[in-house]
Structure formats: structure tokens, C-alpha cells
Point group: C2
Chain length 354, copies 2
């Protein structure tokens, strides 16, 4: 019955349920393939991956599923920082490094060829669906992918951004509401002004674009997916719901934090990466928000500076220094399997419940 949704036809999936391509190790091959095998769309979050690691993981996914899956990549930006700015930013991180026994402060370096190499690899591997966060890629990239038969999906946090995605040739667009966990996809205009709740964002976006809209932000179960479809979306994308599931590669402390958190405990902060993202409030956020505000580097430089801190914090079991990304619906999180998440959604949406 859901085949009537054009996204299901276009993506060749059974159910309009998409697992968000979260970067940072959450989207294991087991998770991606479990979602795709259950009839949804699994997505590898390859934003931070080298092309080589990405290809390796894609091959693993292909061994576990013959169904459609996708890969999410980040449209790159190359901000400049002076040595002085880097020193300032590192100064604020010194107490955490000291606490965790990290000796060296890194000097952030950007490889400006990664995105191009990622795209080449995605074409070579014939990945069926590629989605983008943090902007719209160059039109040649979009055209090359589409010529190769790849379905391309963009991200928007406002009506204007959705229109840009459509105009630039994206096949579909994810409308990311303010409830969403992790990074805000905002790329045109102010982050603050683009904090639009999913209930408001989705119908306003669907009224202004012809391409299919995928709702995201706060959606955790069949109720949210059914609501998204009622609002005019053709599918729903879930992130946090899959972070805590069995196949997720999220750190144990991250899963535990979401499973034990209230809806009032998340906050949007730039202190981890230099770009606003929603996660569970902890000491690192609280302390850094107080002092470091004006001394953060731009994304992705700040992310490089905090990487070792986040990694060491996880291995030393100090969740107060980790980035615990979560949307605003943590009370709805569960530790079931990915396939049972998809199945319970399908069963609710197909039911006669309102």
C-alpha cells in the first residue's frame, strides 16, 4: 500500500522509513543493512570518513543486504584560522586534555580533496542513494551522480533552503525540524532563525517544493511517522531512535545517556564542532558555553580540536566530556533491534489508530 509514496518507488524500498546517516561510527554495516533488509532505507554516515574507510564499509554493507541503501556525506567548507585563534581555542580545551592525560594539542589540518574523492568512490561503488548535509554540492557533482542513476537527497531547515535544494536538482529533500539531534543542516541564513519545529516546517516546505519531502526531527516511532505523512511528507527520517538500537555503533555511554534522559535535557551547542548541534547537556557544554563562546573555531576546525578529547572521554568512561547527540524525544528511545523498530512503525502506521 505504501508503494503509492513516490519516494518508495524511487528508492525501491517498502516503507517510508529512513535511518539517518549519522556520522561518527553510529551507522555500522549491521545497522544500515538491518534497516534496509526490514524494508526501510539504511544510510551510512560517511561525513567524517576517508574515502578508503568509506569504500571498505560500503563493501561490508553490500555483503549484508541486497536492498537499497544510502550514504550521507558532508558538503565541505574550508574556513581559515590564524595560529593565534587556534591557540586561543586550544587554551579553553587545555583543562580537559589535562584531565584526560592528552599531551598534545592538535593543529587542525583540512584535506581539501576528500569530498571529491568520496564522490568518485560513491560513483565507483554504484551506491544507489547519496544524501548531503551542510549545503548543496556543486551542480556538476549533482549532475554526475544523477547521470549515474544515483538518487540524490538534500537537507533543509527552512523553506528557502528546500527551494534551493530543488532548484539545484536534488531529487528529494529532508526537512530537518528543530527537534532533531546532532548537527543542524542550516546552510543559508541564520542558525537561530532556522530553528523551526517539525510540525511547522514540514507542511510549509511541502507547499513550496514539488520534490518529495522527508520529515525529520523528533520522530521516534509509528506515531511520529504517521504524523509526518499526515503533514505532507512522503517519508520520515529517524536518527536518535536508531542510536540506541542493538546494531548501532554508538558508544555505550551515549546509548545509556539517551535512554535515561528527559526531553528537557538537550541543548543546541557549537562547542564540540564549531557548528550548532543538539545533544544532551553535560559539563563540557555547560563550562564551554560560559567561557569559550567567542573563542570557538569554525566548523570543522573546532571538531578536529575536540576529537581526541571526545575519544579519550569515551574510553575513560567520562560521558561528561563526550558529545551525546540526541533529539528532543529521548523518552521514546528503546534498545530494541533495528528491524523491530521498523516493524513496529509499519504496524502502527498500517493500523486504524488515528
Amino acid at each position: 500500500m505504501w508503494k503509492r509514496h513516490s519516494v518508495c518507488n524511487q528508492l525501491n524500498i517498502d516503507h517510508p522509513v529512513i535511518q539517518a546517516g549519522m556520522a561518527g561510527g553510529v551507522t555500522t554495516p549491521a545497522l544500515v543493512s538491518a534497516v534496509s533488509n526490514a524494508g526501510g532505507l539504511g544510510n551510512l554516515g560517511a561525513g567524517y570518513m576517508t574515502p578508503e574507510a568509506m569504500v571498505h564499509t560500503i563493501k561490508e554493507i553490500k555483503q549484508s543486504t541486497s536492498r537499497t541503501f544510502g550514504v550521507n556525506v558532508f558538503v565541505p567548507q574550508y574556513p581559515q584560522s590564524t595560529a593565534e585563534e587556534i591557540a586561543h581555542a586550544n587554551k579553553w580545551l587545555e583543562p580537559y586534555r589535562s584531565e584526560l592525560g592528552i599531551e598534545l594539542a592538535p593543529t587542525p589540518k583540512q584535506d581539501t580533496s576528500i569530498f571529491e574523492k568520496q564522490v568518485e568512490a560513491l560513483m565507483r561503488e554504484q551506491v544507489p542513494v547519496v544524501s548531503f548535509t551542510f549545503g548543496v554540492p556543486p551542480v556538476e557533482v549533482i549532475n554526475d551522480l544523477k547521470k549515474a542513476g544515483v538518487v540524490v537527497i538534500g537537507t533543509a531547515t527552512t523553506v528557502e533552503e528546500a527551494i534551493i535544494n530543488e532548484e539545484q536538482g536534488m531529487d528529494m529533500v529532508v526537512a530537518q525540524g528543530s527537534e532533531a539531534g546532532g548537527h543542524r543542516g542550516t546552510f543559508a541564513g541564520s542558525f537561530n532563525q532556522a530553528m523551526i519545529g517539525t510540525m511547522s516546517l514540514v507542511p510549509q516546505v511541502t507547499d513550496h517544493v514539488e520534490i518529495p519531502v522527508i520529515a525529520s526531527g523528533g520522530i521516534m516511532d509509528g506515531r511520529g511517522v504517521k504524523a509526518a505523512l499526515a503533514l505532507g511528507a512522503q517519508a520520515a527520517q529517524l536518527g536518535t531512535a536508531f542510536v540506541t538500537c542493538q546494531e548501532s555503533g554508538a558508544k555505550a555511554q551515549h546509548k545509556e545517556a539517551i535512554l535515561n534522559t528527559k526531553e528537557t535535557d538537550t541543548v543546541v551547542t557549537s562547542v564540540f564542532s564549531g557548528k550548532p548541534a543538539r545533544g544532551i547537556r553535560n559539563s563540557f557544554i555547560e563550562e564551554m558555553e560560559k567561557g569559550a563562546g567567542g573563542n570557538l573555531l569554525a566548523y570543522p576546525l573546532q571538531n578536529m580540536l575536540t576529537k581526541e578529547i571526545r575519544k579519550e572521554a569515551a574510553s575513560q568512561n567520562r560521558p561528561e566530556y563526550m558529545s551525546l547527540w540526541s533529539g528532543q524525544s529521548p523518552r521514546l528511545s528503546t534498545s530494541q533491534s533495528a528491524s523491530s523498530i521498523v516493524e513496529s512503525i509499519v504496524s502502527y502506521v498500517d493500523s486504524k489508530a488515528p
Copy 2:
């Protein structure tokens, strides 16, 4: 068919569509009765009304409808301000008074008996439904109203606030998402932490209370109402959607502003009333947010200070100094009649659309 919703039975209405009891002259007897006559629940926003004016308006409503209607009142709070604080707050407002030709700065005075008199009048007038914003009233008030057969409805912006409403005996609770226009109903905990999107708030609230939940925030049409029901709400409450309708008593500039605004143009601010409320960004907000932040009086004192400015701004056609309350879905606003809003919602929700 919708009679299966227990709120429809309890309220004796045909459709789970509630017009929010917005204060400040929007909810004319024509609006309230049009919504109730169309099978929804019209509500008089009596928060700022004297008991006498409220009774007068209730009598007018009764002449226009024999259906159930409600009245919304504010649970009062009595903050203290020193003469010095009042002088500071007035200093920031001086430029606007000067610009508009207002000579006297008011000294805010609170009548601590108004709420009690409002409740007495509501009982005397046998108003069938009474809703509360800004907290839960004293338990004796709740018990008296319930003994008199009145259905009492509270407001919550978090799960915790919904539980408090239930524990104190409220019959139903409005879950107000962050998209909502006008004042935030937050009364327990921090306003910032209670900015939960409707998509996240409603299912988390319905999981934690037994009383019926009414969804609000960003809902403007049948899509939103259908989504609210999918999320587990028993009804949906719409505010902004009715501000621009024909029977609304909102100022012409207020209606025009909403009809011509984008989803990115609203902001939550305390500068008008001393309490966070969502409205369309204008000069008054931008200038006051920059300078006056620490010098605002607490609600409702700040509201008293700005009252004359807002009134004069409207009569001199200076919308840049008015409070233009709006939720995050202004692109969905229309200037149709209240009954046609209700009818088009009912027709969408009853349709086979997803």
C-alpha cells in the same frame, strides 16, 4: 466518527478542534461562537479582562451560540519591583513613548483580587469549560469548578508540567510545543529548557499522563490536526490560524503581518510582557533585546509598562512597535472565516489522505 475521542464526549463538541483562548482582544464573541457553532470549541481569552468585561462578553457569546464554549484565564503571579527597577525599565521605553507622543510613564499596579473574581464570575455564568495558562490554580479553585460541572483544562510545556496538571486534578492538558505563538505556558523549570517541539512533546506527554492531551504549537490546518491525533493527542488547539480569520478581533496590522511573514521571522522574546512569548521580529524587539535585557520587569509588570505603547502603535499604524504574536507556521495562515477553517480541517482529517 470523532465522537470516539473522549474529549469530544466530555466537551460535547463534534470535532477535536479547539480555538486557543488568546488574550488581548483577538477572541471576539463572533470568533468564539463561530468556532463552537462549527462543532469545535471556541474559547474567550480573558486573561487580561476585568471580571465585569469578561461577564459582558460571555453573555454576548451565549447569545450567539448554544454550543459548548470555554474561557481561558491566567493563573496570577504577584512579583515585586522597586521604584528604582521601575524607573530603569521605563527609561528603556522612553524613546518609544516619545516617538508616539505618550506623555506619562505608568506605575504598574496589580489588583490581587481579579483572579478570584474571575473564577466566581465563571461559576456564576456556568461557563462549561475553563482553561488555565501560566500554572495550575489552587486546588480549591479546581475542586469548586469541577463540583460545578466545569471541565478544567491546564497547559504544559514539558512532561513534568503535564504530570503536575494531572496530579492537581485537571481534566485535560494542552501540550504547548515550541512552535506556538504568543506566551509560553511554562511554569515549572526553565523557559529555555521547555522549548520542546510539538512532534517531540505530544507523544512523550501522552505516555506519561492518563488525562486527554490536546496538542498545540504550529498546527494550522487539517494536516496539523491529523498529525496531532497520530501523535496520540485527543484534540488539537489552534491559535495563529484563528488570529487572521474574518471574525478575529486582532488589529489589522497584526493580521497583515502574519499573512505576509515567513517561518523564519518569529522570535521568542520577553520584551513586551516580561515573560517569553513568540511573535514576529520587529524594531521594538530587536532594539529592546539589545539593550534592555537586564532591565525588564517581571510579568505582568512589564506588560503594564508597554501596554500604552502597543495600543498607540496600533492606532498610529506603527506595527514595528506592536506585539505581533505568531507561531512558526505563518505561511499557512489564511483570511477565511472561522467556520471554513474548522470545516476544511474536518474534511481533511476525514479524508483518506495519509
